[in-house]
Amino acid sequence: MKHLLSINDLSRDEAILILDTASELARISDGPMKKLPTLRGRTIVNLFAEDSTRTRISFEAAAKRLSADVINFAAKGSSLSKGESLKDTAQTLQAMGADAVVIRHPASGAPFRLADNQWMSGAVINAGDGTHEHPSQALLDAYTIRKHLGKGAKDLSGLRVAIVGDILHSRVARSNVLLLTKLGAHVTLVAPPTLFPFGVESWPVTISYDLDSVIPQVDAIMMLRIQQERMHEIFFPSAREYSRYYGLNRDRVNALNPKAIIMHPGPMNRGLEITADAADSARSVIIEQVSNGVSVRMAILYLLLGGAPIEGGIN
């Protein structure tokens, strides 16, 4: 694994290695060692062509705890308006000697362009590309689920996870479907029919339009952010109707099975896809997802950059 562009880049064993490494790192850095020298002298660039403070800070914290040098490169807006700038930027990063680029970009596939071309030689880590994927988010979600519900198992076999909301536009959903099913979980996608991607029937998941029938059957429920502008694109009639059918409110929290956890990749639209009391309930692991994110991203950085400059896979 030279890059992390898609969950498809990972075998089941590699995904588990990332989760295992993350739990070890969490234990070390929560406990005895705040900082590790592992990536001293290596340069990691955060290339964020789209605003995402939380993901950027998470990667930055992960890199710094591993003693890497971090350069933040905010290219917001420049890339989509001028086609050539992604290439220009890549060549600049190459000249700066970046060992890895963490890229967030509004265009699906932009990390592939960065990695696939002769533009630069460093590792590329996809931190969310358009409506395609967000692999590190899925890994931290799987990590969170395993930690709470895994009962010591390596994978997520037998666990039932519902992902609710704008599946069509969600990179978090795409990566999670790939990863959670790879790890043996049973995934149910819940959304109005307008917010499913074409051909979703062929995905290895269950499809439902009815949140209330799914709620009692799951071990974890992941609420996706719904963007207000989707309403104007006629995906649903009104925010109020969306919340009524697909929002997580107190009644639905009460209908969850007693050990189920509530997740959200953030940032939340409180009152739209999730009510404040659902987000803040005892079942919610939303805040914990954020801290888990740092450990998982440390694991990704270590496994991509901690060894010799590799062509092959993780050993």
Partner: protein
């Protein structure tokens, strides 16, 4: 210069020789002294190929292609007539612009360049351009198209279809329902869903084809459907033809070979409008071309500068160059698969497009007295496409590195050897 071509194979498979003098085919016995004798060693000849759908980018985008470089690319690909699409800058929506393009073609002198006129002013989709003036100009425009954009307004489409009847013209429709394809990036299917690229449903193409064949029936006018890409579209055309509707249809070489699978690495070299579809569509297009439902192959040669492809998929331009690979792709997908022989190739790449465009002196039989527009192909030879060795000014071929059958060795235009030696 006069020529005697020995040892050639005609489209019907018979061996023959061809004599060319003063721009025409003549009897070998009437050749004057000093002609050049070329032994073709049994190679295939075809009437000079005719492309009904070419983007030459001049005026306005000369960094991507000019009429002259496009003409050179054409003759290397075996074409003796190409059709310059109207989406230049300024748009070819007046007699002045179409005459300019026509004269640039004449000046280049390698092949005929027939301008296509815009249906609407500035391709705005709202107001008819001066179609009559373009038809009456020196360029004698017969084909009108807003290609790149769909003539979406049904009333305007109806009027355009009716209006061109005055001079036996044809409306070439780029069938793309705009509201269903807002910001669309690739075929809507399992792959677009996986890649997170906005889908372009087949129905967006088929809905317009269905509407327009019904309008053509109602107005008893000639309609041509550009670049058919879906199995459903083939079915609609087939149905329309059984009803006697005057509709013709084209398919591009790339839609005969490539599928949306090629989008998987996000390389925009495979980004094209209309998009690459499914394997089942490719097979339906080949079957439609073989049985005559689809009349012609047209290149939709669309040169783009490297900056507009060397970027993110969503930012990249749509389009592929195709003049120099078209014949090879047709041989690979139609002849080598047994779906078509060289009479069929002559039909879909020369005779039928010349007839649809009403292009005189093209797509004619290789008989004494006819203008000598002629292509010689070594069908047994293979070549590897190299974008750096092509004559087009742009490098955006999706076939770079592909090994393809069929090497064009000679192209004669009006009896002149314009390519080969």
């Amino acid at each position: 210069m006069s020529y005697l071509l020995k040892n050639i194979t005609l489209p019907n498979g018979t061996k023959a020789e061809l004599a060319i003098q003063d721009g025409h085919f003549v009897a070998a016995s009437s050749l004057t002294k000093g002609h050049k004798m070329l032994d073709m060693g049994g190679k295939q000849v075809l009437p000079g190929l005719v492309d009904l759908h070419t983007h030459l980018r001049e005026p306005g985008f000369e960094e991507s292609e000019t009429v002259a470089t496009g003409s050179l690319s054409a003759v290397r690909g075996g074409f003796t007539a190409i059709s310059a699409m109207a989406n230049t800058s300024p748009v070819a929506d007046t007699a002045g612009v179409v005459e300019q393009v026509y004269r640039l073609g004449q000046a280049a002198g390698l092949c005929d360049v027939f301008p296509i006129g815009a249906v609407t002013q500035g391709l705005n989709g709202q107001t008819l351009s001066e179609i009559g003036a373009m038809a009456d100009s020196a360029a004698r425009v017969r084909v009108f198209s807003d290609d790149g954009k769909c003539v979406f307004d049904p009333l305007l489409m109806r009027r355009a279809l009716e209006y061109v009847k005055k001079f036996d013209g044809v409306i070439a429709q780029h069938a793309q329902e705009p509201t269903l394809t807002q910001d669309s990036q690739m075929n809507e299917g399992e792959i677009s869903a996986q890649l997170g690229l906005k889908g372009w449903p087949a129905v967006a193409e088929e809905a317009i084809i269905a509407r327009d064949v019904l309008l053509a029936e109602h107005t008893k006018s000639r309609l041509h459907i550009c670049h058919l890409t879906t199995a459903g579209g083939v079915e609609i055309i087939r149905w329309a033809k059984t009803r006697g509707i005057q509709v013709t249809a084209e398919v591009t070489p790339h839609h005969l070979l490539l599928t949306d699978d090629y989008a998987k690495n996000y390389d925009p070299i495979f980004k094209v409008n209309p998009p690459l579809r499914l394997e089942s569509d490719v097979l339906a297009l080949r079957a439609g071309l073989a049985d005559g439902t689809i009349d012609i192959v047209a290149t939709d040669h669309a040169p783009h500068s490297s900056e507009s492809k060397d970027c993110e998929w969503a930012v990249a331009s749509f389009g592929m160059v195709g003049l120099e690979t078209a014949l090879s792709i047709v041989i690979k997908t139609m002849v080598e698969t047994g779906a078509m022989n060289y009479e069929g190739v002559a039909q879909c790449l020369s005779i039928a497009p010349a007839r649809i465009g009403r292009y005189e002196n093209h797509g004619q039989s290789l008989e004494v007295g006819n203008v000598a527009n002629l292509t010689v192909v070594d069908t047994a030879a293979k070549w590897v496409v190299d974008r750096d060795l092509m004559s087009t000014r742009s490098k955006n071929t999706p076939f770079h590195g592909f090994e393809l059958p069929g090497v064009v060795t000679h192209t004669f235009f009006n009896g002149k050897l314009v390519f080969g030696e």
